[in-house]
Symmetry: C2
Subunit: 483 residues, 2 copies
Amino acid sequence: MAAHMTPEEFRRYGRQVVDWIADYQEKIGSYPVLSQARPGDVLASLPAHPPEKGEGFEAVLADLDRVVMPGITHWQHPSFFAYFPTGASGPSILGDLLSAGLGVQGMLWATSPACTELETRVLDWFAELLGLPDRFRSDGPGGGVIQDSASGAALAAVIAALHRADGGAAGRDGIARRHTLYVSSQTHSSLEKAARIAGIGAANVRVVGVDPVTLAMDPAHLDALLAEDAAAGALPVMVCATVGTTSTTAVDPVPAIGEVCRRHGVWLHVDAAYAGVAAVCPELRDVNDGVAEYADSYATNPHKWLLTNFDCTAMWVADRGPLVSALSILPEYLRNRASDSGEVIDYRDWQVPLGRRFRALKLWSVIRWYGAEGLREHVRTGVRLAAGLASRIAADPAFVLLEEPRLGLVCFRPRWDGLDGAEADRATLRVMERLNASGDLYLTHTKVGGRVLLRVAIGAAGTTDAHVDAAWRRIREETAALS
Amino acid sequence: MAAHMTPEEFRRYGRQVVDWIADYQEKIGSYPVLSQARPGDVLASLPAHPPEKGEGFEAVLADLDRVVMPGITHWQHPSFFAYFPTGASGPSILGDLLSAGLGVQGMLWATSPACTELETRVLDWFAELLGLPDRFRSDGPGGGVIQDSASGAALAAVIAALHRADGGAAGRDGIARRHTLYVSSQTHSSLEKAARIAGIGAANVRVVGVDPVTLAMDPAHLDALLAEDAAAGALPVMVCATVGTTSTTAVDPVPAIGEVCRRHGVWLHVDAAYAGVAAVCPELRDVNDGVAEYADSYATNPHKWLLTNFDCTAMWVADRGPLVSALSILPEYLRNRASDSGEVIDYRDWQVPLGRRFRALKLWSVIRWYGAEGLREHVRTGVRLAAGLASRIAADPAFVLLEEPRLGLVCFRPRWDGLDGAEADRATLRVMERLNASGDLYLTHTKVGGRVLLRVAIGAAGTTDAHVDAAWRRIREETAALS
């Protein structure tokens, strides 16, 4: 019989791994944020062939430090300001560990009722915490579900919207006419990806204009495009409004967009991947204005700003009918009495994959550990730190601030007096690369109006004033060095 | 500041969770395999509203026993014989815990080089362990990637195949003509789901006939359908051959199917979700006959029979070009020097979602803990137990065995002398329901040739002769009780 790890061995190695993680948490600030590895470094330090005989778990732990850690970019580092944060926290890690330990697969209600019903309840809780509308709750025609990512949620929304728009014709017979999808230049790339995957095609993703200052979608232009496309015989499938764009956290005017969608009978998906969770704070709840009245589907990521480790996207639909109709197939080997009764939810019909992990455990652990108060406090810390950094940037004549941030992202650039636009952009990117190469902090960039901006996204659990102060000092140093 | 769990608290609660899981492993055999919960039971025992204040982790652990456990169907129970096994093992759980503890997001090489390069190396190892062809290795034009599920791999294969078939036209302009996909009646439902999602449509999933005894796809019928469809102006996108069907572990004749695909220039995807991993044993390697010569893409699930907890599907492509071309989009905020250099793999372009967890850690832990020897031994144990059960069924005049199993699944039914087909099927389902309701074991059913069969799938780490003996005794008891 294969040498399975015994429960006693699991206890021993499990403690070692827990201690290893706690040690890592204690010293994470001492690592360079961005991995200093060059392409191929990690690969070259791993054996070319798998072991013939088992090696024991000490060998794995030893290689973790020797091989893996030099190739880690530390997303939980308090000076990680790149992209958006990817949450993690003690309760989330332990919730995830419980999920792995139970090892259940919740494709159907019957294959672990708790995996389904805890998810249902936690998503109802989470809707309440964010002030989302009752029609997203599971006791009506809608409901919530955990998806792998905002990309997965966007694809699911497209599939549901398509099903509603054509009565299931494309799912049955294939796409046979031009279908269109509406985004702005600021919408996340996952929407174009979803359009390609769904057979709609990138060229039929219509790019609605944005306000040049706020970068918010122009509802009048959306209206005109929808009318034009319908008149030309296309089938408009879905509009995606964004609450907190990836580039700059711009917020599309959901109420006005929703009115347009309603008039044209088009599905409105709201992608609030980053910003939606900010609504745990009543004073930020207006980011979701219009969602209650108009959104057919909505997604936000506890795995970004809300202390839950990847993957955990919360998605709600106002009517689960089109989603389930589009994705449900019942082969004989999945038939069971509970599903046949219609009394239960089978979440496999709400997502692309069949199988599913027990992800509700980690979101449940996070909500219970922090409570609503603790979650609000975490978001407010990020908002306060971002505002503080922004005010220093605004006060410094060597820098240009894009705008006062409302959330945790600050966009800005060095002014570079005397350089033309292209020269200035190259200099800004050099500052970023020098900062990232130093290992002191990690930030990324975007482009607005053709100009490169630096992005500082604040939201890791360990980030404090001191880390933001140090980041600002280093940014000024590297900028001065190139001026 | 929000009350984050300190490293010291993480040590304390982490040990409690590790001990909780070890305790669970020790007593798992004492639980009813199938949850006895009725719809709504778990929901009703959870508070209607989220907590305002944080509750501490003891509260979560207490509710785990009180609320969650009664709603668990124990997939790791040694008497779990339903569906296919969903693997778990100590090293896998700990590898997953390391992934959660590191909390990195590996969408790009740069966002954690080790997350990408360890995956690359481990997939090369795994291809070697299974005797898969060199052209799947990452040092050529192909390569391996971890997907969330065989469903996700199937969708990715469809997208890549479509891209190759039409030069990217559908991804660009949308599907504008009839596209077709080829499966058999025994192919997993995820292929129809992928066809719906990809805009091909369920009606364009062509069902190739099967041999009535072996249930293997008929290559001559496939050939005829491909010719017919192409002559009618359709664009054949992909053929899916299955190695180990979900219903009965039938194996399609990949070499003959591959010849047909090659003649018609159609992408061949091999779905070996369950059976593919059996190839760790040289004596079972012929399940993958033809894969080396003909498969454009191939998927098998370590998270089924190979002791790795969900989700972990290993997928390989012979040429990564069409997959990456179909799924790659590069917005400014994801641009980085490493990606621009072309020297690195960005696995985000190999999958539907953008974000990705560090799943290679758990597969690496499993391979190193067990070694090739231990993995073979685990598969051989399942094969031996299945063969033993099958021989007893074959020797019992009250039962009909479908066929001698080569892998870990045994399909059979009570003979029910004197009952007509429909009556016999109802009686067989009643036996199954009584067995499942007893909590002693959990098995599921399928239909072959219009008749209900029971499925006993063996493969949990803890399953021994005693568990299979007990299952067989209980099956005979319940059958006798209804005879």
